[in-house]
Amino acid sequence: MNLFIVFFNVALAMLAAPLMWGITYRVKAWFAGRHGPPLLQLYYDIAKLMRRGCVYSRTTTPIFKIAPAVCLGSVLVALILMPGAGISSWFGFKGDLILLIYLLGIGRFFMVLAALDTGSPFEGMGAAREIQFAAFIEPSFILVMAVVGTSGGGLSLSSLFGGTGYHNIASTILAAGAMMMIYLVENARIPFDDPDTHLELTMIHEVMILDHSGPDLALMHYASSLKVWLYGMLVVMIALPTIGLFPFWLYWCALLVGISLVAVITGIIESAMARFALLDIPHILLGIFGMALLSLAFLLYR
Amino acid sequence: MINLIFAAVILSCLMLSASSRIKTCIHIVAFQGAAVSLLPLLRHHIDWELLILALIAALVKTLILPLMLFRSMRIAGVRREVEPLISYPVSIAISLCGLSFALWLATRLQLTETTGVSHLMIAAPFFMMFTGLFLIISRTKALTGIVGYLVFENGIYLFGGVLGLEHNFIVELGILLDVLVMVFVSGVAIFHINRKFDHIDTGLLTSLSEDTVEGER
């Protein structure tokens, strides 16, 4: 049964993850009064890129080619840790939430290295901002994970279904809010990063993969969409702990709906807000840390 | 008899601090050496060990050491003055203070009950030590410093003799040997200082200290 969970988690993510990109962009287009790209646009893009050849810079080393594989591989491995339908993954164990954070770290480390590998100042700048945000967000992520681990008791990701969330509404709301912000930061969305600006200088995540092309770019895009899916899953599970009580099939549908909802919310936020000034972002990240800390405090000292 | 010797020793110490000639000082030290090394013979029953020790000590303290000092005096061409940092009247005053302090010490030490010697006999060695230290501190000539050191050593020897502690033959002889070597080495050193700097005034040796180096700071 636990092995089925792994299978379903990975399969659903691999199939549905690029869809979230489409949903977000349709919502944004709807707000802007445009028609917008097709829902399956990212699938088309990936399929097209897979068939294309690559352009490599003469500066790059094998690191540049290894990075996309590692980015995708680490997210996939992170996905096999995720529980589902009220039971833990076969790979789940006590402390797997820490491993999850570190697994996501590998992808980032290699993405930054690949960016520096090109020797491009744009990509260096993107890398500088990306790792800065990541460094500030890490304590918050760990505290949110601490909330998850202690509220369910098991100190593992399966305690996402601990169901204690509603005893402690304040803690749950704060944790879910913090997780939502972490989702936005880590996936480089507005208000922290704008992937759609017209200048390389103003992007963060997108500029880091500026020199990737062909299958490399496809893998990078796919890995990012899986990452969006993974964080979306965490947001849904923290906000709705009772989802674990649903019957097996209903759970997966609910999950899909929930993550789509997160994607819709992302679209709304992106349409309603502008990006924060770059120098203010560390302060806002500290605010997220405050939220996570408060959530933990509500849980521990109730 | 014993008390007389002690009085003589104390007086000689006072003389030391007041005398202006190195030659006199050396004579006094020789006399003190004779006194302190022969004193044990007067107080205890005599065995061979003690006798040999006393004779050797007397020989070294009254003859060999003064002769070596005279020799280095001659080599260094020392004139007679002691060259004090402190004037003679003040020296005597300080010496008297030292004597009273030594007497106070002797009363405080409470050795009289246990060993049955008088306060004066305890005070005398201490006074000798103070005098020795005082000579080292207050006189500039290196030779006077050696004299002061010998006086100090005599004081220690006397203290041992007075208390009649079980004489450790080896230890006493060892100390004697040390003193001998010390005087010998300082004799050589004085000769070299003299040759290098044309004087044996240690006060002028301060120019060798860190002062000048730091002065350029």
Binding site: Y56, T59, K65, L76, I98, L116, S120, R129, Q132 | -
Partner: protein, 631 residues
């Protein structure tokens, strides 16, 4: 037990033999640590498996008397870095054959062997005198090793700072042992009485400062960032990987010698550790000299170990013995792992320094193409030190993290608060370490070279691949297989997941290669917006990469900025440099010592140079003592 005493003798012999002017003396010096590794490792592994305890008493001549020697699991854990890093560093040192390194050859191996013998003596002695003897040997020999290139001014300065720090430390350690000793006649640890709690606290604080100075805990870390850049790379590897750990060993030993602990000891260890970790990594990421960067990262890692110890003490005080034990296990794992990857990084840094002559990482770049093996090993070391799976840095931090989460469930107020503090500090440290080491790896080995020196550098002597390769291989192997040793939770799954990760990434890489091979690939230049005047200097530098963070943490550092703006009709060269220095050294200790110096200068008249006056001082002191005694 006997094997270790034999090894001490062997190391001493090799050390002295390497001083002889005979052919192959350097080889003898190198063989010492290697023989120690071969001889000591079986005993260490036997101990780790059996978890027993060996004791032996030997009667030494006069000043020592009957000395106990003990070898237990704690000694065994700290023995692993000593033997392993000692062996690889000796190997590495032996392979360096550039003439300027061969000149100070003989004394290096003498002091190297002596250093290892001293540390070995510390680890096995259960006797104050023997412990302190080993400590002194370690301090002295490491001082001479740091001053290997003593002709350079900054090396001598570093040596003096180390010298002062280590001697203040040893003073406090001796005091602590004397207090612990109390009135007991012999010097063996086993005959110590249990001190009362007030005295025990004083002992703990003294030992913490003394040993902490050796371990490099903030604010006693100031010698580390000076000494490590000054020493040759493989010496730094031993200093950072082994000698700093001996400081931690001392703290652990003191904790074990005193059966009853106070909760606030745990708090102090935790706070010092948290401050060291965060402050260390912030300064590390701001550095431009890559060996200084590594030195500060040592401060950070020892902070992590200290946090683990502090939480261990706290958890034990709050009746959670299992969790406390696991905290100590986590710290021990990190001790071993840190020695391995830091040794690797220091040796790689040494190679880079030798080949390019550049201290400043902003002037390097593209070394992965020019020194492929060294740069690859360095990348592995960087990944490991960030705690990234599947390398070995992960497991120690993982255990500490997990136990921190366990502590959150305790019902008291204090333990969860401590755990939250630890989780935050560890998380922030982890995030910043990622920045710091992507900078180190990325700027040095990737991109284009930023200076002539980096452009023209040639690969190292192929023999150097072996010591680095051994350590890099251990980083990976220990990362995968160490979790199997942790029977307390289902850690074998970690190993399994790591293997899946490696297989998956490799598979994806080859799949991608196949895909790319079937299409038409081109090579070109990096995207530059069509700008034609580009040079290698327009690349992002290391300082640029961390600028957002150095800007944020500016108040914690001392910023030294020097700018020269080009001016005139035909402007000459401009210059811009910012260096971030240690606030604690420059604003703290330097001010303190300046104040002490001023007071001392005011008292200089005492030191007049008159012999007479010195004797007067002695006489006065003697007389005062007499009066004081008799009154």
């Amino acid at each position: 037990m006997g094997i270790f005493l034999f090894l001490i003798a062997l190391l001493l012999f090799c050390g002295f033999a390497s001083l002889l002017r005979i052919k192959g003396n350097n080889l003898i010096g190198i063989m010492g640590p290697i023989a120690a590794f071969a001889g000591g490792m079986p005993a260490v592994f036997t101990m780790l498996v059996s978890k027993s305890y060996i004791q032996q008493s030997i009667n030494f001549p006069f000043p020592f008397g009957l000395c106990n020697f003990e070898f237990d699991i704690v000694s065994a854990i700290f023995m692993i870095p000593l033997l392993l890093i000692g062996m690889t560093a000796a190997f590495y040192g032996g392979c360096i054959c550039k003439p300027e390194h061969a000149v100070p050859g003989r004394p290096i191996w003498f002091f190297f062997n002596l250093l290892m013998a001293g540390i070995l003596l510390i680890l096995v002695s259960a006797n104050t005198l023997m412990f302190l003897l080993g400590w002194e040997i370690m301090s002295w020999s490491s001082f001479f090793l740091i001053c290997t290139y003593h002709r350079k001014n900054e090396v001598r300065t570093a040596g003096i700072i180390y010298f002062i720090a280590t001697h203040i430390g040893v003073l406090l350690i001796i005091t602590a042992f004397l207090l612990l000793q109390g009135q007991v006649e012999d010097f063996n640890f086993s005959s110590f009485l249990i001190p009362e709690s007030g005295i025990a606290s004083v002992i703990f604080i003294l030992a913490l400062i003394g040993f902490g100075a050796k371990a490099g805990l903030v604010p006693f870390h100031v010698w580390l960032p000076e000494a490590h850049p000054a020493a040759p790379g493989y010496i730094s590897a031993v200093l950072s990987g082994v000698m700093c750990k001996v400081g931690i060993y001392g703290i652990v030993r003191i904790l074990l010698l005193m059966p009853e602990h106070q909760p606030w000891w745990g708090w102090i260890l935790l706070l010092l550790g948290a401050i060291s970790a965060v402050y260390g990594i912030i300064l590390a990421l701001a550095q431009q000299d890559f060996k200084r960067l590594l030195a500060y990262s040592t401060v950070e890692n020892l902070g992590i170990i200290s946090m683990g110890l502090g939480m261990g003490v706290l958890a034990a005080e709050y009746d959670m013995p299992d969790i406390s034990r696991l905290f100590f296990v986590g710290s021990a794992l990190h001790v071993i792992n840190h020695a391995i990857f830091k040794g690797l990084l220091f040796m790689a840094a040494g190679s880079i320094l030798n080949q390019t002559g550049e201290h400043d990482l902003n002037r390097l770049g593209g070394l992965l193409k020019r020194m492929p093996s060294t740069a690859t090993f360095m990348l592995i070391g960087c990944a490991a030190i960030c705690g990234l799976p599947p390398f070995n840095g992960f497991i120690g931090e993982f255990v500490i993290f997990t136990q921190g989460l366990e502590c959150l469930t305790h019902e008291s107020w204090y333990l969860p608060a401590a755990a939250v503090l630890m989780l935050t500090a560890l998380g922030l440290t982890g995030g910043l370490a990622m920045v710091c080491f992507s900078k180190l790896a990325g700027i040095i080995s990737l991109g284009e070279p930023r200076s002539r020196a980096a452009e023209d550098c040639i690969p190292v002597n192929p023999g150097l691949r072996f010591p680095l390769g051994i350590l890099a291989g251990l980083c990976l192997c220990l990362g995968i297989f160490l979790p199997l040793l942790l029977s307390d939770f289902m850690a074998w799954k970690i190993s399994l997941i790591f293997i899946i990760l490696i297989v998956l990434c490799t598979g994806l890489y080859f799949w991608r290669r196949k895909l790319a091979a079937s299409a038409h690939n081109r090579t070109g230049i990096t995207w530059d917006c069509g700008y034609v005047g580009g040079s290698n200097r327009i690349q992002y530098t290391g300082s640029g990469l961390v600028q957002p963070l150095t800007r944020f943490f500016k108040p914690l550092m001392l910023r030294k900025k020097s700018v020269k703006i080009p001016s005139g009709i035909f402007p000459d060269k401009g210059r811009w440099s910012i260096i971030y220095d240690d606030l604690i050294l420059d604003a703290g200790y330097r001010q303190l010592f300046d104040a002490i110096k001023n007071i001392c200068f005011k008292l200089r008249w005492i030191q007049s140079g008159h012999l007479n006056r010195y004797i007067l001082y002695i006489a006065l002191v003697l007389i005062l003592l007499l009066i004081w005694e008799l009154l």
